[in-house]
């Protein structure tokens, strides 16, 4: 009976972990935050944050405007330890705007910020099937 229980538990956990993916296996990139030398880096995928075993981590970006002249973008992240990183840019370039227009659940987001000003110094969005 003990053997039975062990085999059952093994098969259940293996199946739950592997799931039913048939294509290229997903890359799990949980939210990471790193701070050093006046900069912070944050990265992660929507999917990894949403599939994480904690209920803490998240990542995302915003675009906001008064529809006339004033606009800003921001990115934010929190890792599993509760550390947060948040940056904004009140003069987003067209490249930044177009990058953020592509943020969705297939996204891997990377952003870098100046910790003194809180401004985003780099934003990268990568959408790919293996982020699901």
């Amino acid at each position: 009976m003990n053997k039975l229980a062990i085999v059952t538990a093994l098969i259940t956990s293996l199946t739950a972990t592997v799931g039913a993916y048939a294509g290229a296996p997903p890359l799990r990139n949980p939210v990471n935050i790193f701070t050093a030398n006046g900069s912070s880096l944050a990265s992660g995928t929507f999917d990894a944050a949403r599939h994480s075993s904690d209920s803490v981590q998240y990542i995302g970006c915003s675009m906001a405007t008064d529809t006339v002249s004033s606009e800003y973008v921001s990115c934010f992240a929190r890792n599993s330890s509760g550390a947060t990183a948040y940056c904004y840019s009140s003069s987003p370039t067209l490249a930044t705007i177009e990058a953020l227009a592509g943020v969705n659940r297939t996204s891997y987001i990377f952003f870098k910020l100046n910790t003194t000003t809180g401004k985003c110094t780099e934003i990268t969005i990568n959408d790919q099937s293996t982020n699901l």
């Binding site: 085999v7 199946t15 944050a49 209920s55 405007t65 592509g102």
Partner: protein, 134 residues
């Protein structure tokens, strides 16, 4: 041996359809603040879609048309409904950023807009974040 086989088959069958999301997720059903003379509305697409309030709804659109003078025009607008109350706004000749924000809307989006007494959008923000990804 038979018991082992039966237990294994049961375990595999039960696991197959029951992968559980454990990460942080939120549903933000649409909420409306203020009055018809000015206010705001906010909510996530997932929150509205799964809300117990069957009127819960949020939407933004971009509309291109040719006016009577033959000029191509682009307008944008947002609408939200919660508990039977609807608020809308429109923005004429919106900035490129406004249009980009609205075209970024997807199932993981949280939308917030402010409007004035004349139905003008005075503020629009679109947030795409993991916690709205269900």
């Amino acid at each position: 041996m038979r018991q082992l086989f039966l237990a294994s088959a049961l375990a595999v069958s039960l696991s197959a359809g029951s992968i559980v999301y454990a990460g942080l997720g939120h549903l933000y059903p649409v909420a409306i603040y203020g009055s018809a003379s000015g206010g705001s509305a906010a909510g996530s697409f997932q929150g509205a879609h799964l809300s117990a309030d069957k009127t819960n709804y949020i939407s933004c659109s971009t509309a291109q048309f040719t006016n009577l003078s033959g000029v191509s025009v682009l307008n944008v607008g947002c609408t939200a409904t919660a508990n039977g109350v609807t608020r809308s706004c429109v923005s004429y000749s919106p900035s490129l950023m406004t249009v980009a924000a609205l075209t970024s809307i997807n199932p993981s989006s949280y939308v917030y807009f402010q409007y004035d007494a004349r139905g003008n959008c005075t503020y629009i923000s679109v947030t795409n974040q993991s916690i709205d990804d269900l």
